[in-house]
Every structure is written in structure tokens, then in C-alpha cells.
């Protein structure tokens, strides 16, 4: 066992973990932060996306000990301070950017990382950025629309296909 200490959603957390403990297992099983989902467990789907030091990573494809000293942000840390949905989350709700919701935590984390680097992306840029986030329900259209809306762009011309 190795002791790891990291900051998760602003709170410092220390635990003993085994070498092979994945960051996603640490979040879900040890800390009960079950908002981060495991879709594939094979690095393909992006449902497990979290931010480590501000960058999106697949938490199923990183070990907990590799996050030693890092700032980790999960979907549980995304809401506004008063508990209301943040701009991105609200946009997903407003534009029906989810159906079953399984991919949504990963989508929100991925989309948030995109807008940090590229505050006004084009539709093509949003779609390209989401290459590693798979949704089996929505057909992506309303996810893309939600992200464009969250970036403050007018999406009224985009049909709700």
C-alpha cells in the first residue's frame, strides 16, 4: 500500500492505496464519488473523464498514485457554490443534451476542458473535441448544441434534430 494525498474538488484527501488502484476506483469505491462513471473500462468511451491539474483525463486509464499531489476535479465539484447547476450543466438540461445520462459526467468534464482552451469553439471543433466521449443515446446533436450554448453562442438557428 502507498499513501496518496490529492485535492479533490477543493478538499485534501489522503488514503492508502494499492499500486494497481485506478483513479476511477479510488474516486468511486474509496471516496464514494460515484458521479464519475465507468462505461467501457478500456479507454474508449470517456464516461470516466475527470480533470487532473485542469486537464481532462480518463480516470480508468490512470493510477491513483499518479495523482499524488494533484488537483482533481470530478462532476461532483462542478455545481455552483449554492448547489445550482453551473452554466455547462444547465445548458445540457436546457438543450436536452442527455437521455440516460450515463455519458453525461464525462461529457460535461470534457466540454468544460474545451471551453477553457477555446472559449468560442465552432460546431466542428466541438465535435472533434468529443471524439473520445461516446454517447449511445442522443446522437450527439443536442450535446453539441448545449456546449455551444454554454459558450455563449446563439444556437437558435441549430435545429433540434
Amino acid at each position: 500500500m502507498t499513501k496518496v494525498t490529492m485535492t479533490i474538488n477543493g478538499k485534501s484527501v489522503s488514503r492508502d492505496v494499492e499500486g494497481q488502484t485506478l483513479l476511477v476506483s479510488f474516486l468511486r469505491d474509496d471516496l464514494h464519488l460515484t458521479g464519475t462513471h465507468v462505461g467501457c473500462d478500456t479507454s474508449q468511451c470517456g464516461a470516466c473523464t475527470v480533470h487532473v491539474d485542469g486537464k481532462s483525463v480518463k480516470s480508468c486509464t490512470m493510477f491513483a498514485v499518479e495523482a499524488e499531489g494533484a488537483e482533481v476535479k470530478t462532476i461532483e465539484g462542478m455545481a455552483n457554490a449554492d448547489g445550482s447547476l453551473n452554466v455547462m450543466q444547465q445548458a445540457f438540461q436546457d438543450h436536452h443534451g442527455l437521455q440516460c445520462g450515463y455519458c453525461t459526467p464525462g461529457m460535461v468534464m470534457s466540454a468544460t476542458a474545451l471551453l477553457k482552451d477555446n472559449p468560442k469553439p465552432t460546431e466542428a471543433e466541438v465535435r472533434k473535441h468529443l471524439e473520445g466521449n461516446i454517447c449511445r443515446c442522443t446522437g450527439y446533436h443536442n450535446i453539441v448544441k448545449a456546449i455551444l450554448a454554454a459558450s455563449g453562442q446563439d444556437v437558435s438557428a441549430i435545429a433540434a434534430e
Binding site: 502507498t2 494499492e18 499500486g19 494497481q20 485506478l22 473500462d41 478500456t42 479507454s43 470517456g46 473523464t49 486537464k55 481532462s56 483525463v57 480518463k58 480508468c60 486509464t61 490512470m62 493510477f63 498514485v65 499518479e66 499524488e68 470534457s110 476542458a113 474545451l114 473535441h129 471524439e131 473520445g132 466521449n133
Partner: protein, 262 residues
């Protein structure tokens, strides 16, 4: 996964020392190794993470070569190599997806030598030098076959040094489910000739298409490829495409790369 420990040394010397343990293995970004461990296709006793080794991080320019530390992630190459070696930066920007690019490293990609990996094509086409903790190996002597390289047990890719070509381009025909190339071609034009490297296609892993190199060194234009054909012998046959299709794609992607580079 089987149980193992992870060490996180901060210098190459300490990493080399840690790798002397029985069944110890380097851990780069884990984007290939972690799925392999999950499938129980590897059973190391210990992983030696290279992510904290400062001397293996980042990009530097030395005359007309670009040196990339072995633990540098794809996302860093995509942004920081853009002004000096745009063809290489573009290749890095198309590897996998953003989260893969935030973890995966050039050293891991080169050491793994997946027959469909992108960086080996850039290294071979650029005539790069692979720098390890013990020696320097020309790319021409480094990639020995599918998942096979000249690396010895416990040897670490500490950097890759790329001569910067006058013009270059990488064309990746994406296999959309894996996001790896079905066929990828890197074309690099230097003052003394053109080099063409192909990934994704051959059962022998990355290779140079020498006939195209000769033709393009004469005339650097897609037409120069007109009379050439790649044999389907030794090409990968799988459910995504047969050997004939891959052989055909090599010529098409080479032509597109030349067009984009010229």
C-alpha cells in the same frame, strides 16, 4: 489486474536503478500499458512511472533538430512543436482523443511500436535519433517489427531528436472505432531527398516506401507516384481492411501528404 507496486522516481538514474528489479516495467502515460494490464497480458512486479522525471519532459530546439523528452505528452507536442515542426505537431494533435493526448507520451509510443502507431512513422520519415539512457539509435535501426524495437530490458527512451525537414505532412486514414490509423503516411522533404514512412499497413510494422522516396526526390509532386504500386504481400489483413485495400491506401495517402506538404 495482477497486483504490483508503482515507483515514481525523479531522475533517469533512479528510474534505471528501479527498473533493475525482477519483472519491473516502465510506465509512461499508461494509455497502452493500463489496458494491457487490465487484460492480464502483462504481469509486472513493479511499474516505474516516468511522469516525474523532469529531464524527460518538454521540447527544445538545437540548430535544425527538435528534441522531445521521452515523457512529453502528445498534447504538449501538438502545441509547442507547431511553429518549428508543424507536420509533427499536427500528427500529435490527431493521436486518439484529447484525454489520450493529455496522458500518452512519445517515449511510450516509440517503445511500444504498435504497428498502427503514429509517432514511429514521423521518427522514421524524419530520420530521427532515439536517445536512451545508454545510447543513441537511428530510427532506421530502432523499429524491428510489430511491437519490436532495439530497446534492451530496462532501457528507457529518454528523448527523440528530430531533424526538421523543409516540408512535411502526415496523412492519417482513421479507423474510427480505435481512432488509430488504418494507414498513416508521413512524408518529409529534406534538402538532400525525401523520406516516406508508412504505419498501420504492414505486418512488419512501420516501414519506408523507398520507391516513392526515389520518385519524390526527383519531382516532389503527387504525379511522381503515378507509375508506382505497393504490393499487398505482407500487408495486414483484418476485419477493418484487407491487404489489397491497405496497399492501395498507402499510395493514396502518400499522394495526399505530398500535395499538402508542397
Amino acid at each position: 489486474m495482477y497486483a504490483f507496486d508503482i515507483e515514481r522516481p525523479t531522475t533517469v538514474a533512479d528510474a534505471v536503478e528501479a527498473l533493475k528489479a525482477d519483472e519491473a516495467q516502465p510506465l509512461g502515460g499508461g494509455q497502452t500499458l493500463i489496458p494491457t494490464l487490465k487484460a492480464r497480458l502483462a504481469a509486472p512486479s513493479k511499474l516505474v512511472s516516468l511522469g516525474n522525471v523532469k529531464e524527460m519532459q518538454g521540447i527544445s530546439i538545437d540548430g535544425d533538430t527538435l528534441r522531445i523528452g521521452g515523457a512529453t505528452i502528445h498534447a504538449t507536442v501538438a502545441t509547442e512543436a507547431r511553429s518549428r515542426y508543424p507536420g509533427l505537431a499536427r500528427l500529435a494533435s490527431k493521436i486518439g482523443d484529447p484525454a489520450v493526448r493529455n496522458r500518452g507520451t512519445i517515449g511510450g509510443s516509440i517503445a511500444n511500436n504498435d504497428p498502427a502507431a503514429c509517432y514511429p512513422a514521423a521518427a522514421l520519415a524524419s530520420g530521427a535519433t532515439i536517445i536512451t539512457n545508454t545510447r543513441q539509435v537511428a530510427a532506421d535501426d530502432f523499429f524491428l517489427g510489430m511491437f519490436e524495437t532495439a530497446l534492451d530490458e530496462g532501457e528507457i527512451v529518454t528523448a527523440v531528436s528530430f531533424p526538421i525537414p523543409e516540408a512535411s505532412n502526415y496523412q492519417k486514414f482513421v479507423q474510427p472505432a480505435s481512432r488509430f490509423p488504418l494507414v498513416g503516411v508521413f512524408v518529409a522533404k529534406f534538402a538532400d531527398g525525401v523520406r516516406v514512412a508508412v504505419t498501420g499497413a504492414s505486418e512488419g510494422g512501420v516501414f519506408r516506401w523507398t520507391e516513392a522516396e526515389q520518385a519524390l526526390s526527383g519531382t516532389f509532386a503527387p504525379d511522381a507516384l503515378d507509375g508506382l504500386n505497393v504490393s499487398e504481400d505482407g500487408m495486414i489483413n483484418d476485419l477493418h481492411g484487407d491487404g489489397e485495400y491497405r496497399a492501395h491506401l498507402i499510395k493514396i495517402m502518400t499522394g495526399r501528404a505530398v500535395k499538402a506538404a508542397s
